[in-house]
Symmetry: C2
Subunit: 229 residues, 2 copies
Amino acid sequence: MTRILYSLCGADESRPFSPHCWKVVLALRHKGLDFIEKPTPFTEIPALENGFSKTVPILRDGNELIRDSFDIALYLEETYPNRPTLFGGEGGKALSRFVERFSQTIIHPAVTNIAVADIHDMLGETDRIYFRKSREAFLGRTLEEMRAGRDEAIAAFAAKLEPVRQTLKYQEFIGGDGPLFADYILFGALQWMRVTTGVKVFADDDPVGQWFERCLDLHDGVGRHVTAA
Amino acid sequence: MTRILYSLCGADESRPFSPHCWKVVLALRHKGLDFIEKPTPFTEIPALENGFSKTVPILRDGNELIRDSFDIALYLEETYPNRPTLFGGEGGKALSRFVERFSQTIIHPAVTNIAVADIHDMLGETDRIYFRKSREAFLGRTLEEMRAGRDEAIAAFAAKLEPVRQTLKYQEFIGGDGPLFADYILFGALQWMRVTTGVKVFADDDPVGQWFERCLDLHDGVGRHVTAA
């Protein structure tokens, strides 16, 4: 059976950077499932699998096609129930959605403020045109204006993770003693920033930075294997 | 067997307002457990149960004494496993801690900005002295300065719940189809504000306000039964 994860890359396909695709990479490895990753530039995504989705991740699992990182995680949990759980039960499933929405509304904009101009610079020519136009329209600022605010955004970043920092006083992972999909959700956001910018946002003794390092080591260091910018 | 919840009140003991105690009230009702609530002024808490805890909630469950709302919820889940679950499994337990830390670091300070002067005014004479001194030291501002910033704090409040708002696009409760302890955690914060201030912070069509109304109706309307300020 062929299992393919379509993910996102810039000009260098060895450095996939999408936060949502990283969530799925860790989820697949968590379940112990083999897969082939096919990093794809932004503007080639709409043609994948006969136009199945405008965005990645897309997972082909034999005859099944699934899009959206959370839906893929739910699919994996349902389809492979005897492998390690991604949610730890129905409560964990529901509350993972809250973690996703926290990451999406608070952490993703903070990463964007730091990384958006760097992401642009990683892309191939065709993607750059698409990316600049769509992101500048969304942000209401030019990439150059975003870059000018980068240092300020870096300084403000770590504080946004305060709920995570405090959670880690009680447990090694957001999911408890070991990682769950909730960890991969937040890992995805930080890995996106790491691969695209390489900036240091956490003090050495920050529990959030230490947790991120633990996540980089998970599943044979699949996250660490892709180098930081 | 005697089950007693020691909670917090001001001069009027019919209007307990502590967010942490409200979490436990809902958790006990969720488990279908009878209890006597004993609302207690701030300065009388240290004498409860031979000085067992400086803060409420304190739960006496027969011969057991437990403090701290999260620890009480864990105790109830372990002690009464055959009654409705508060966590929905181990994943839900771990991620509820994240919801608690979100509430504590983002929502509680926002409620404090709105409510702290009103809370003072609800207290008896002895408590007022303790409360003003401890809160002004903690906040670095006088209660009068806090009151002056109240309208601004009200206007800024609803946006802080954005991760909750987005979660409610997917499910009726933070815990999924029905409420879990995670709902009671955030309910506690909003009920604290409702009982002490009565201010309207949500637009009528705000899904967060609608969820809070659903929570007020839970368990025979135990939350709604205490009137807003």
